[in-house]
Structure formats: structure tokens, C-alpha cells
């Protein structure tokens, strides 16, 4: 069900990682804020559009199980501590994504969080988020999560329209997500987020308007809205290929985006990243850590990590993952050690997506000219101290602006 989880379908190509997981000599550890991502690679059923690294009981095969998963995750948390050494690394944010984290008992999630605390410690005021499926939470579980130290919860609502949820093959009923928000707030979660998907085949403007109104009406302080991406190999892609469903239309997606911006702005939410809006204080600090190129360790099958310019990603199958950890070896499949220029390119690429914009200092002369041109064409505006940020139209063309800005 994940929208924000760190584990998309296709891993990049990379170089091998030593069995002990050690980082290349000279990797700066502890110079940047530190976060942890915990991946839960399980779902009850696989949604039609989903290509994330997640497994249903039937897909899983032998050698891995939901029941033993928390212990494996804890093992990697302890492994991470050994690799990173004795550096003081208070964890600023934790994000449990999936899959469907709430498919695990709250006690398992609590145990994983406890291990983070034990090994690294949480920074004061740390943000601790879990994703949740509206179907797989109840007041008792929410209370237990709150009790365990979770501060924020993000529900995959996707849409208020039953026919849209049907195309997405989501199992919850439209009202269930909103009810879950109420239950979470009642359990004491001050920060609740809803994910919406727009541009689904068959979705009408009024359907999306209703979804936005429902999300706003629920009182959440954060909304993510994503254009539907048809990933290769999904059932959705197959149905479109067979002509059963119309392919998503970029112009429709652009209209929906403007619709989201209008409705959310009117309700007091401000965009802070291309696909994310929040009320004051509601921005997801964990995701901001990604976009500011902070350090984080991703726990779990297929999870990605970044420490000091080294990116790596774990093996994808839970069984292989479990075996590596059981043998005391790194579960990493491969890594890439970024050059200074690659880090700069990533920084420009990520910062341009943020409302704060990209600092001009990250740009080379050609990139500056390109961004000045973007300003002249109404795609960007000067922002803050020597920064440039995208306009509403520029947000819709962010990738095109980025291609020129990284020159």
C-alpha cells in the first residue's frame, strides 16, 4: 500500500558491498542529521497499481515470515550500529513504511522502534511516523502505537470514490480512511497524513474534488497527492495494455494537480514539496531529510540507505535478507559511492522540488543561466536568500527545469 516507502520496484545498478557492510574509507559518518527508515515488506493483498517491494503470504514462499520479521529488522538495526561505529547518532526521524506496516502487531513495530532507541537513541522531539492501511488499524492498535512512541501516522486513503478505489484494487471502503483518521486523533496522534492518488482511469474531476474535500474535512495536518504512475509489470499496466482501461492522461493530471493546489491552499495547507502539502508544523520531517540529503539507514528487504555520499540498497527478497543477517553479513545488495558532482546534481534535483527552492550556490554557470531563463518564462521565482523556487506552473514541469538546472 505504500506511497512514501523507500523501496520501489527496480534497484539501480551498483558496486558490491563488503560482507561486513563497512563503508568506504573516509565516508563521513555523523556529519549530517541521521534518520532511520524501517521497511515492512508485507501486504494482505497486492494492489493493482503497486510495484513496491512487498509480498503477500502466498507470494512469500519459504524462508521468511511476517512472524519472524521484527526480529530480523532488529538484527539489522544492531548491525547498523556496528557498521557506523561509536559515533553519536541521535535519530531525528523514524519512518516505518511498506508494504503495510500495520499488518504487523503493534508490539512488533514497538519492538523495532525500541531497538532504534536502544542502539542509537532518539533525538529530543523526534518524529516517528508509521504508514497504515485504513483497513488494518483499530483504536487499540493505534493506542499501542502511540504508547510505543509513534508521533505521526500516514493513511493511504487514495480516493473517496468507490469506482476509483476499485480500479486501484484497494480493499477499504471510502469512509474507512476518514474513520481511521478520527481514531488516530482520538488515540493522541497530533500529526496525521492522508495520501491521495489522482488521474486514475475513470476518475472524474468531481471524484477528486470529493476526495480533497473529505481529506481536508478530516482535519489532518498533511496531505500527499500523487499522480497515478502506471508501473511496468503491474496488473494495472496489463489492463491498460489490453485496452480495458484508458491510460492516464498528462493533461488531466495537470488539471488535477491545479485542483489539488487550489483546494488545499484554500483550506490552509501549503505546498512544501511537489506532491506534499501541510498545515503549519505539519510537514513530514523525515521526508525533508531525504530531500536535504541527510544521512539515513534503511532497514529491511530492498530498503535504501544514504550515509555521507554512499547510497546502498538491500537484497529484495525477505528470505535472502533474513539469511544474510542470520549469517552476520550485510544484507546490502549493492551500493554507489557518489562523486562530488553526482551529489551536487542530486542536491539540485531534490531541492528544486521543495518550496524553499534551490540555493544558487549549488548551480554552475550554465545552470544559473537556465534557471534565470526559467524565471523569465514564469516557471520559477527568486526565493529567500539567493534561492530559486518553482512557480505553480514550474512545479508541473519540475523535471524539465531540473534537466537544464543541473548543467
Amino acid at each position: 500500500m505504500s506511497q512514501t516507502g523507500g523501496v520501489p520496484s527496480t534497484p539501480p545498478a551498483g558496486e558490491p558491498v563488503p560482507a561486513d557492510g563497512s563503508l568506504p574509507e573516509g565516508t563521513a559518518v555523523g556529519e549530517r542529521p541521521f534518520s532511520m527508515y524501517l521497511h515492512v515488506p508485507y501486504c494482505r493483498t497486492r494492489c493493482g497499481y503497486c510495484d513496491f517491494n512487498t509480498y503477500t503470504a502466498t507470494e512469500l514462499g519459504g524462508g521468511a515470515s511476517q512472524a519472524s520479521y521484527a526480529a530480523q529488522a532488529v538484527a539489522e538495526i544492531r548491525f547498523a550500529r556496528r557498521v557506523l561505529g561509536a559515533v553519536d547518532l541521535p535519530v531525528r526521524t523514524v519512518f516505518v513504511g511498506g508494504g503495510t506496516p500495520t499488518l504487523l502487531p503493534a508490539a512488533d513495530l514497538a519492538a523495532m522502534l525500541a531497538a532504534v532507541r536502544e542502539e542509537f537513541g532518539l533525538a529530543p522531539g523526534a518524529e516517528v511516523t508509521t504508514e497504515a492501511n485504513p483497513d488494518s488499524v483499530d483504536p487499540a492498535a493505534l493506542a499501542a502505537l502511540r504508547e510505543a512512541g509513534f508521533t505521526r501516522i500516514s493513511f493511504g486513503m487514495q480516493s473517496s470514490a468507490p469506482h476509483v478505489l476499485a480500479v486501484l484494487e484497494r480493499t477499504h471502503t471510502p469512509g474507512r480512511a476518514l474513520a481511521a483518521v478520527g481514531e488516530a486523533r482520538a488515540a493522541g496522534f497530533a500529526h496525521v497524513s492522508l495520501d491521495l492518488i489522482y488521474g486514475t482511469p475513470g476518475e472524474r474531476e468531481v471524484d477528486f474534488a470529493a476526495s480533497l474535500a473529505d481529506a481536508v474535512g478530516s482535519g489532518v495536518d498533511h496531505v500527499s497527492a500523487y499522480a497515478l504512475i502506471v508501473e511496468e509489470g503491474t496488473r494495472l499496466a496489463a489492463r491498460i495494455r489490453r485496452g480495458e482501461l484508458a491510460p492516464p492522461d498528462d493533461d488531466v493530471a495537470a488539471d488535477r494537480y491545479l485542483q489539488a493546489e487550489a483546494a488545499l491552499t484554500a483550506a490552509g495547507y501549503d505546498w512544501y514539496e511537489v506532491s506534499n502539502w501541510a498545515r503549519p508544523g505539519g510537514a513530514c520531517r523525515h521526508n525533508l531529510a531525504y530531500w536535504h540529503s541527510a544521512d539515513w539507514w534503511g532497514i529491511g528487504p530492498g530498503a535504501h540507505s544514504h550515509v555521507g555520499g554512499v547510497r546502498w540498497w538491500n537484497v529484495r527478497h525477505p528470505a535472502a535478507y533474513g539469511q544474510r543477517l542470520a549469517a552476520g553479513a550485510s544484507p546490502a545488495q549493492a551500493r554507489e559511492v557518489l562523486s562530488a558532482e553526482q551529489r551536487r546534481v542530486e542536491d539540485v534535483m531534490l531541492r528544486l522540488r521543495l518550496a524553499d527552492g534551490v540555493p544558487r550556490g549549488l548551480l554552475r554557470p550554465a545552470g544559473r543561466v537556465a534557471l534565470d531563463d526559467a524565471v523569465a518564462r514564469g516557471l520559477a521565482v527568486p526565493a529567500g536568500v539567493d534561492r530559486v523556487a518553482l512557480t505553480l506552473r514550474g512545479r508541473l514541469l519540475a523535471d524539465a527545469v531540473t534537466r537544464d538546472a543541473v548543467d
Binding site: 512514501t4 539501480p12 546534481v345 531534490l350 522540488r353 514541469l397 523535471d399 524539465a400 534537466r403
Partner: protein, 618 residues
């Protein structure tokens, strides 16, 4: 000398002309000419069975793959005939294609007789008929032969009657052979001896030999194939080319039998080769007369013509940095192709390349294919066009080989090349063919029934109308049954205009076309529509206009792209997204900029190729 000759026969230079028979085979592609030639080589013993390879005489890979002969060859076959005497049969292989009509005519001029070879299952084809007419004009003896009589689908009686009707003989005079099995080949060789007259020439006159082919050989330089008419040419003599007056030392003369075999001399009526050490086939032009430098002939044999390019196309390297390679490759190809002409040109859209002139579409295709295959180049070729002669209002005259250089105004008259086309098809398709030819501005010049079911249509057509998709259209309208041949037939004035294609206001030179005024709108609409599909949306709206001068005749719009952003970019997406960005940057480098519009190379290729699939006359 790799092979032993089992039947050596009279020596070159000392052969009695009465014992010589010079002949060629006129046939349509696939009707078995090369197989028959192979069988003749075997039957006369010049090639042993074990070294025989299919289509022995077709040397070039492309020829073998396409089953056609681009360059003619001449082979000397010693033959002990039925009458008990030894003869020398010179088989001159004619180039089998419409673009090479002139070369065919020179090959025919080297012969006294022709074997008209027709597939017994298919009957005569347009190109065969055209070459037959050439042969008849030269007063050659024709020996009609049906091949492939072993095929179950063969209809010897029907096609013997058709052949007899065409050349005016009796059906029982048509020989029946199977080149595949060898059946009837001996009877055919005897018929050549009996029916083809021996060559006639003056042995004591100054030497005169006609060049009917010249090829470039990496090791020997230019190898020139000649038919001696008068006198003789001997090794170590100095010779002169009569069209240019250039003189060369004759390093070697010889005959092909079937490998080059040096000889002391070539005498009256003999066919063989000359080597002078020159490196460029332009020094040794087809149709020219060779004589001796001292005491040479006063007048040439006549019939010489400079090769004249009829079809032009811009050739551009896909990767601009390959331009020097393209230049070097064309320079090398030129050594072996006297008809290929080219000069550098640059296109705002395609960069640096060459405007190349060809004898016709097949010639274009062969050159392009050789550049790609033998020299490993990736090329874009612009839509083929013909050459226009433009009379300006001020009395000056312009020759336009590139449509983008066609003048926009002050034009008094435009002249375009015309061809005379021969189309053979089953009679049920006459209506469809007439409709097609009419739509291509054709004029019907005549029509004949070869038999009840087969008809010959003769049309005068602007060459420009057949360099596009004429042959494909003809084939599809006749379910593949029609065959086509054409030859240049002067020029005509016509109401022609240049249609420019503008992208966001900037003309794209590669897409300019000269078309008949009545067809300008259709061309404009089609091209604009095609480009709208091929060019990706840009950050701004891009109008595509087709215009004659400043008058816009068609317009399409590529709407501005409104969304170009990935919805999600979280921790696990970053590496993937950066790599995608790097890939997109690479892709951007391969874009051609037309003004501010980024046009993918593929769009150029697709736009230039689909509608301009070169006709492949057969």
C-alpha cells in the same frame, strides 16, 4: 591462375572472328539468368563442378544477397559445337536494373545476339521488355528461351506463345531449358553458335574498342572491359581514351575465363579486359572508345554519353562527428562508381552532409546500403528529389538539386525531368494502373495486349512522381503482379512550387519539397500531420506550418507540455531518478535544435523515410 582450363580453345588475340559469338542474356530478376550463366560455365568446362558456387559471376555481396547483378562481367567460354568446330562464346552479363539503362545499352552494343530468358511460370516482365526493345533497336539476333520448365507451375505453351507474339517468331522457335537441372543448356549453346552472327570488323584498321564496363579493384586499379571492334590492342601499347584524349600504358590485357587470364592481345570481335594502372573509374568511362595512342582511330564508335544523375538526396551522418568518415567513404565509393556525384552541403536541421546525385532510386539505395554496410556509417537520407531547371523572370536559369534552394518567387518557368515508363500487368488491373498513373500526372502513350491476360501500358510520367512511393503503390494496386521499367525521356515544364515546413516559425530545410501546385496542400497537410505525431511536446506551443512562399497552406499545433514531473521522489527513488536524469541529458544531446524546438533524430528519420520509401522497380 587458379583453375585449369579443360577446354582451352583458340588463344585471345589470334581468334578468327568467324569463330566468335558475342551474346548476352536479357532476363528479369529471379528469372534465372545467373543460374543459367553458371550452367554455361560448367557445361563449357571453364569452371569445374567442385569450385562452382551459386551465381559465380556476381561478385559483390549485395549482388548475391539481392540476387541481382549490378556490375556486368564478360566471360570467355571455349565451346566445341555440334558441327565439330571450336568456338569462343563471350557471355556478356548485363546489369539487370532500371537505373542502369545506359550501361545495359553499352553491354548490348558489345553483342550480336541476346538470349531472351523468361520464367516459364511468370512470363515476360516490363524490364525485360524494355531491354528487349533496346536489343531490337541494335538489330541483335534474339533467341527466345523459357527457363524453369521443370517447375510444376510452368506454363511453357502459354508463355512461348506470348514470347513469339512479342518478338514476332513462331512458338516452336522458343527454346525450353531448366538452368537448375541443365536441361536444354547444350541445345541453347548450339543455338547461340548457329543463330548469332559472328562479329565483323577490320583487322588492319586502327584499333577501336568500346568500353562496356569498368570496375575498381583494390589491387589492380581500374579493370576496363572492352569489346574490340576494329584492329587489336596489345600489352605494353599506349592507349588513348577518345572522349578525353587521356593516354595510358596498357599494363595488361586478358580475358575472363572465368578468372582473369592475361593474354598478348585482343583482336577483332574479342571481349576482354584492360589494366592501365589508373585508380579512378572516371578515367575509363562506359561507352567510351579506346584506341592506340599512336596511329589511333580518327573517329570514335559513337554512342558515348556522360552519366547523368537523375535523382538527388542529401546524405547526412546520424552522428555529426562521422562527417569526415562519410566524405572518405564517398571518395572511395566514387572510384568504382562513375555515376555517383556529390558535393558538401549543410542543413540547419541535419548538420553537415552531402548532396548526392544518382542514376535512379536503386542506385541511391545501393550507395546508401554500401556506405552503411561496407563503411559502418549510420545515415539519414533526405527524401529523394529530381533536378529542376528553373527559368527566372530576368532570363537567368537555375539548376536546383536541393528543394530548399528552389527560388521562392520571380519564376518564369520550371522544367522537370520526364520518364517513359513501361508497365506490364494482368489485364484486370488496367483500370487501377491508369488511375494511379493519372494521379501521378501521367500521360498514356500507348497500350498493347501481349496476350489475352497481359497488357503493356506505356506512360509518360514526371520522374518526381515516381521517386516517392510509386512502385509500392503500383504493387499494392496490382497485388504484386505489375512490373515497371522506365527510362529518361526529356523534360517538361510544369506548375511546380516549393512547400516549406516551418516549425515554430523556422523553416526546416530537410522537409522542403518541390511539388505540383495541385498537390501542395496534400503534401503540406500530410507532412505537418506526421510531424505533429513525431515531435514530442515542448514547454511551449509549437505551430507546424506548411507554406508556399509566405502563404501558409496547412497548419498543425503541438500543444505545450503541461506536466513533466515525477510524482514521487523519496529515499529509494533518488539513485534511480538521478540515473534517469543522466540518461535524459544524454538523450537531449542527440536532439536536433530547430530554433528553440528540440526534435529527436528519430523524428527526422521517420518523417523523411515513411513517405519516401524509394520505389524498387522490378
Amino acid at each position: 591462375m587458379a583453375l585449369t582450363q579443360r577446354a582451352s580453345g583458340p588463344a585471345p588475340g589470334a581468334t578468327d572472328p568467324a569463330r566468335i559469338r558475342n551474346f548476352c542474356i536479357i532476363a528479369h530478376i529471379d528469372h534465372g539468368k545467373s543460374t543459367l550463366a553458371d550452367r554455361m560455365l560448367q557445361h563449357t568446362g571453364v569452371v569445374e563442378e567442385r569450385v562452382m558456387r551459386a551465381q559465380y559471376l556476381d561478385r559483390m555481396d549485395i549482388e548475391r544477397e539481392r540476387g541481382i547483378t549490378i556490375k556486368s562481367q564478360a566471360v570467355r567460354l571455349p565451346y566445341l559445337a555440334k558441327d565439330g568446330a571450336s568456338y569462343v562464346l563471350n557471355l556478356i552479363d548485363t546489369p539487370g536494373h532500371v537505373d542502369f539503362t545506359y550501361e545495359v545499352s553499352r553491354s548490348l552494343a558489345a553483342c550480336e545476339g541476346a538470349v531472351l530468358l523468361v520464367d516459364a511460370a511468370q512470363g515476360i516482365e516490363a524490364q525485360t521488355l524494355a531491354n528487349l526493345y533496346l536489343a531490337l533497336e541494335n538489330d541483335m539476333v534474339i533467341i527466345p528461351v523459357l527457363n524453369k520448365i521443370d517447375l510444376p507451375a510452368a506454363q511453357p505453351e502459354k508463355y512461348a506463345a506470348e514470347l513469339a507474339h512479342v518478338i514476332g517468331c513462331e512458338p516452336d522457335e522458343v527454346l525450353q531449358v531448366s538452368a537448375k537441372t541443365g536441361h536444354g543448356v547444350e541445345a541453347l549453346l548450339d543455338a547461340v553458335v548457329a543463330r548469332v552472327p559472328p562479329p565483323v570488323g577490320e583487322a588492319d584498321a586502327p584499333a577501336r574498342a568500346m568500353i562496356f564496363d569498368s570496375v575498381y579493384d583494390t589491387y589492380r586499379g581500374v579493370v576496363t572491359y572492352v569489346r574490340v571492334v576494329d584492329g587489336h590492342l596489345s600489352t605494353r601499347e599506349r592507349i588513348a581514351m577518345m572522349s578525353t584524349g587521356a593516354t595510358h600504358d596498357l599494363l595488361e590485357v586478358g580475358v575472363i575465363s572465368p578468372e582473369p587470364t592475361p593474354a598478348d592481345a585482343l583482336g577483332v570481335g574479342e571481349v576482354g579486359y584492360l589494366i592501365t594502372g589508373v585508380k579512378d573509374v572516371r578515367q575509363s568511362r562506359v561507352g567510351d572508345t579506346v584506341t592506340t595512342a599512336r596511329k589511333g582511330a580518327a573517329a570514335p564508335l559513337g554512342g558515348y554519353r556522360d552519366p547523368k544523375p537523375m535523382v538527388f538526396s542529401g546524405l547526412y551522418p546520424l552522428d555529426g562527428s562521422d562527417y569526415p568518415e562519410l566524405r572518405d567513404s564517398l571518395d572511395k565509393l566514387k572510384l568504382n562508381d562513375a555515376a555517383l556525384v556529390y558535393e558538401p552541403e549543410s542543413s540547419a536541421a541535419l548538420g553537415f552532409g552531402f548532396r548526392c546525385g544518382f542514376l535512379g532510386l536503386l542506385h541511391l539505395e545501393i550507395v546508401r546500403e554500401r556506405l552503411e554496410r561496407e563503411f559502418g556509417l549510420d545515415l539519414i537520407s533526405t527524401a529523394p528529389n529530381v533536378v529542376y531547371r528553373v527559368d527566372m523572370d530576368d532570363g537567368s536559369e537555375l539548376t536546383v538539386t536541393n528543394p530548399s534552394e528552389f527560388p521562392a518567387g520571380k519564376v518564369a518557368a520550371v522544367h522537370e525531368p520526364v520518364v517513359r515508363a513501361t508497365i506490364l500487368a494482368p489485364s484486370e488491373y488496367v483500370g487501377a494502373i491508369m488511375e494511379l498513373c493519372q494521379s501521378r500526372r501521367g500521360t498514356l502513350e500507348g497500350m498493347d495486349y501481349l496476350s489475352e491476360e497481359r497488357v503493356e501500358l506505356r506512360y509518360s510520367l514526371p520522374l518526381a512522381e515516381i521517386v516517392f512511393d510509386f512502385f509500392d503503390a503500383l504493387k499494392s494496386k496490382t497485388r504484386g503482379y505489375a512490373s515497371l521499367d522506365y527510362e529518361p525521356h526529356g523534360e517538361q515544364s510544369a506548375d511546380l512550387v516549393k512547400v516549406d515546413i516551418l516549425l515554430h516559425g523556422d523553416p526546416v530545410d530537410a522537409f522542403s519539397a518541390v511539388v505540383h501546385r495541385e498537390k501542395a496542400y496534400a503534401y503540406g497537410v500530410a507532412m505537418a500531420g506526421k510531424l505533429r505525431e513525431l515531435i514530442p511536446r515542448q514547454q511551449f506551443e509549437v505551430p507546424i506550418q506548411a507554406a508556399i512562399g509566405s502563404r501558409v497552406i496547412a497548419r498543425e499545433t503541438i500543444r505545450a507540455i503541461r506536466k513533466d514531473v515525477l510524482a514521487k521522489c523519496y529515499g529509494g527513488d533518488i539513485s534511480r531518478k538521478r540515473k534517469l536524469l543522466e540518461k535524459q541529458k544524454e538523450g537531449k544531446k542527440r536532439m536536433k535544435m530547430v530554433g528553440r524546438v528540440e526534435v529527436p533524430q528519430e523524428a527526422f528519420i521517420a518523417a523523411l523515410s515513411t513517405e519516401s520509401t524509394p520505389a524498387k522497380p522490378k
